[in-house]
């Protein structure tokens, strides 16, 4: 069995995001990029499956600019065997064209288990997993919090409103990973050093059939500052008045 993990490099959760002058993209100059946190669950699950099922190898695939190599190095440091960068020349928000490139690569690797995060924290579109399913014509279970693989049969638990749904399928299949599935390992220093020296293969891809384009980005409305109305019980009447009259929540 071969396992493929699709991952995306995204801005750090703590990064201070600034919209670029074109109003359609973000200014990347002062941003630190990380592996999409949900994809880390996918990497961890792949490594655990490799250990428990004796999988042949784990390959991590990412689609992005040259800087995305750093995300692949993190994957290598964690223990992924092979990595490939599908190098794009421009940023794209078109999930379908991205999914097509990834699907072609996955097919080439012959992976039977395809893991990815439930969404990327940058655009949060949650589309690539299901799209891969369609393109590869294999089942997809999304937002998985528990995964059991036995031979080729796959059992997955997923969160649904107010409960847990248990689904069963067979490989090949696609799993999109949710927080709670596992605790991603901390890359060992030896892994980090090995990853630094790793030759990362790259293949240029063109996303010229993109049918979606960003027309503009804007900041969310800034929230008004919090207010301290007072201390102790004396403050309660004023608090109630404000909640009723200003915030209009009670």
């Amino acid at each position: 069995m071969k396992i493929a993990v699709c991952l995306k490099q995204v801005p750090d959760t703590e990064a201070n995001i600034k919209i670029a002058s074109d109003q359609k993209s973000i200014d990347e100059s002062a941003i630190k990029f990380i592996v999409n946190p949900y994809d880390e669950y996918a990497i961890e699950e792949a490594l655990k499956l490799k250990e428990s099922q004796g999988a042949e190898s784990v390959i991590a695939i990412t689609l992005g600019p040259d800087r995305a190599k750093d995300a692949l190095r993190t994957a290598v440091a964690m223990g992924v065997d092979d990595v490939v960068l599908l190098k794009t020349s421009a940023n794209s928000s078109d999930a379908l064209s991205a999914a097509k490139s990834l699907a072609a690569k996955i097919k080439e690797t012959g992976a039977e288990m395809i893991l990815l995060g439930k969404e990327a924290i940058d655009d949060g579109s949650m589309q690539v997993g299901p799209m891969l399913s369609e393109l590869l014509n294999i089942p997809c279970i999304t937002v998985v919090t528990k995964l059991e693989v036995n031979g080729s049969s796959v059992k997955a638990e997923r969160e649904i409103e107010g409960g847990v749904e248990v689904l069963q399928t067979t490989m090949p299949c696609i799993i999109t990973c949710q927080k709670g599935l596992n605790e991603p390992r901390f890359p060992s220093i030896r892994g980090v050093m090995m990853a630094k020296k790793k030759q990362i293969s790259e293949e240029a891809v063109e996303l010229d059939d993109a049918k979606l384009a960003v027309s503009s980005l804007s900041y969310p409305q800034s929230r008004s500052e919090g207010k301290i109305v007072g201390e102790g019980t004396e403050a309660v009447p004023e608090l109630i008045r404000l909640l009723r009259e200003e915030a209009k929540v009670i």
Binding site: D12, E14, A15, N16, A30, K32, I34, R185, F186, S188, I189, R190, V192, M193
Partner: protein, 660 residues
């Protein structure tokens, strides 16, 4: 003595000496087999002078335990005298009239000296025996089973026996030869009075018994030395010679390019000097006495680390000598994670160690091995490591926010100012932590009031790397160090100013390992200077009692004790008290050695112990000079619910409040 006796004597001496030599050679080879490290032959004359002075005057033993030290000194000088006296003793078997010094006045003086020393040594041996086996002080009797061996009883018995048999033998000799030496050998003469009335033949027999008992005890001692902590007789002075000449606690660099093994997972990876330390340990427990981890009921005792490693390396000796792999790793049998991760790297152990052991380097080597080779470390450190990697601060707060604390203040940024006398390295606490930011605000106020020419790096600044290095993540530390050194070199400044003693230590003493030699000033030094020059003036408000808590990295590591006290005195109207542990004997806040970022779930809390010391002297204010100390002690005060009567503030904050 007859021929048979002489042959038996020679055989006994040969046997004991050969055994001794064999055992010493084994230990020498184990040290030589240790991993390469600094050779420490630099400034040999100074080193020799230091070692001879330290040992010769017995400062090593007396400085932290005067009474015990003096008793130890008696025994030490007893050894020196009896090493020579034994030659005389042995030669008498072959030439009864022979004496090393002839038979003149000097010889008489010599025998007087030996007589006096014999009594002092006996007193010392009895004292130490009573102390160890009747009063059982904790540092030398705990933890079991390390410190309950009968070796000390045997050795002290031997020492006492040596003296007694010497005096009795000399006393018997006086009677038998009829030569009274009473004036020069008063104690031997006193011993002879015990033997008067005995018949000549039985006296002759007893004389021989005393003589043989004496020499056999000398030889027995020789056999025992290499196997026991009494190896410190030999290893101790050598270890003092090879002491580190860097500030205590300064860690060695790992050369990642040329090594595959980082830190220590197997005992054979220790450097030769670490192994010398293991063999030098005296089990005196001075380190255990001052260790904050031990005091707060953590499973760490610095001496146990040394003794356990000694045991381990001897256990593996056959494997090591024959070049085989070790049979088991250090962890978790010979050391446990809870032990090595409990260390706050406060350096109290190294400060007090009579044989100059470097406990911190050994503990950090083990952390390095666990962290970098085994990927095992306390889970709480993971976010700190991630934070340092991604956002260059252990709290993983956005790196672009590093200078937001300056909003509304007039704090120049280096890239805008271009040049400054002081590059103020604010540090992660000062930039991101709320309490730390208060220190930065106060410091900015002082610097501006005094008209100091300074600038900060702003978002160019990265963590100095101290928490990573102390947590064994040398790789991450080196990344931070290299980046900071490169940044420093891009700017024009004369000195680096730090508010955090950890930044101070690392930039001043450890960045030199990365081609970064900088003059570094801690803010207490700068403020003390500004007060001296009259550039700032204070108006002491209130008359509450103050006390100053020495930061380990400022005090013990870098010997800065007076500057903060000078400021504290100026602020407190002279109402300044010293806590029971202060200056070089200060007690850690519990936050060093990356402990700041770990949970303290075993035993009692170190910060509580320290806060209690401040309460004992009736302090209303604890002045600190380190953001970690501020956090730890302030937490301690709040957890104990005494914040109404005891406040914790950085010196900079207190100065800023009193600024006129």
């Amino acid at each position: 003595m007859n021929l048979v006796g002489q042959i038996v004597l020679i055989l006994c001496i040969l046997g004991a000496v050969l055994f001794f030599a064999k055992e010493i050679r084994l230990r020498y080879r184990l040290v030589k087999l240790g991993a390469k490290g600094p050779q420490r032959w630099d400034r040999p004359v100074e080193r020799l002078g230091y070692a001879v002075g330290r040992v010769g005057a017995q400062i090593c033993s007396i400085k932290d335990r005067p009474l015990v030290g003096i008793m130890h000194a008696f025994i030490f000088y007893g050894f020196i005298f009896f090493a020579v006296a034994t030659i005389n003793h042995v030669t008498r078997a072959f030439a009864p009239e022979f004496s090393l010094w002839g038979h003149g006045l000097f010889n008489n003086l010599w025998f007087l000296g030996v007589d006096i020393i014999a009594i002092l040594t006996s007193i010392g041996a009895v004292f130490l025996f009573v102390r160890r086996y009747i009063f059982k002080p904790e540092p030398i009797t705990k933890p079991w089973p390390f410190s309950r061996s009968p070796q000390s009883a045997i050795v002290l018995g031997f020492i006492f026996g040596l003296m007694v048999t010497y005096l009795l033998n000399q006393g018997a000799d006086m009677i038998l030869t009829g030569k009274s030496f009473a004036a020069w050998m008063p104690f031997s003469h006193a011993a002879s009075t015990l033997l008067t009335g005995m018949s000549i033949p039985s006296l002759q027999i007893w004389n021989a018994v005393f003589w043989w008992a004496h020499i056999l005890m000398v030889l027995g001692f020789l056999v025992l030395i290499p196997h026991s902590k009494h190896l410190h007789l030999i290893a101790g002075p050598i270890n003092i010679f090879f002491r580190t000449r860097e500030p205590d606690g300064t860690l060695q660099k790992i050369d990642f390019e040329n090594t595959e093994e980082f830190g220590v997972t197997n005992v054979n990876q220790f450097q030769w000097k670490n192994i010398m330390d293991f063999f030098s340990c005296v089990d005196c427990g001075r380190c255990q006495d001052v260790c904050p981890a031990y005091a707060s009921d953590k499973p760490l005792s610095p001496k146990v680390v040394m003794m356990s490693m000694r045991k381990h390396i001897l256990h593996e000796a056959d494997h090591l000598i024959s070049g085989q792999d070790v049979s088991e790793p250090v962890m978790d049998k010979w050391q446990t994670p809870d032990e090595i991760w409990a260390c706050t790297t406060c350096g109290a152990c190294m400060e007090t160690c009579p044989v100059k052991n470097e406990h911190i380097q050994t503990i950090i080597e083990l952390r390095r091995g666990q962290m970098m080779m085994e990927n095992k470390f306390p889970q709480e450190l993971e976010p700190a490591f991630r934070g340092l990697e991604t956002n260059s601060n252990p709290w993983n707060l956005g790196m672009s926010e590093r200078a937001t604390w300056t909003e509304g203040l007039d704090v120049p940024i280096m890239t805008e100012k271009g040049e400054a006398e002081y590059l103020w390295f604010v540090g992660c606490s000062g930039s991101f932590d709320d309490r730390g930011k208060n220190i930065s605000h106060a410091m900015a106020k002082i610097l501006n009031a005094a008209g100091v020419d300074y600038a900060i790096l702003g978002t160019e600044e990265k963590c100095c790397g101290d928490p990573a290095r102390r947590a064994g993540n040398e790789y991450l530390f080196q990344m931070m160090a290299e980046e900071n050194v490169a940044t420093f070199k891009q700017h024009k400044f004369k000195k680096i100013l730090t508010s955090c003693p950890h930044c101070y230590q690392v930039i001043k003493n450890e960045y030199s390992q990365f081609e970064g030699e900088f003059e570094v000033v801690h803010h207490t030094e700068l403020i003390a200077g500004l007060l001296d020059q009259g550039k700032i003036k204070l108006s002491p408000n209130g008359d509450g009692k103050m006390t100053f808590h020495d930061s380990c990295y400022l005090g013990r590591y870098n010997d800065i004790y007076e500057a903060p006290r000078k400021i504290m005195k100026a602020m407190s109207n002279g109402n300044l008290a010293e806590m029971v542990h202060s200056k070089n004997k200060s007690f850690c806040c519990g936050g060093g050695g990356a402990r700041m970022f770990m949970e303290e779930s075993i035993g009692t809390r170190i910060n509580h112990l320290r806060v209690e010391e401040a309460e004992q002297v009736g302090a209303e204010t604890i002045g600190v000079a380190c953001p970690f100390c501020l956090t730890m002690l302030d937490d301690g005060v709040k957890e104990k619910g005494i914040e109404a009567s005891l406040q914790v503030k950085d010196i900079a904050q207190l100065v800023a409040e009193q600024l006129v």
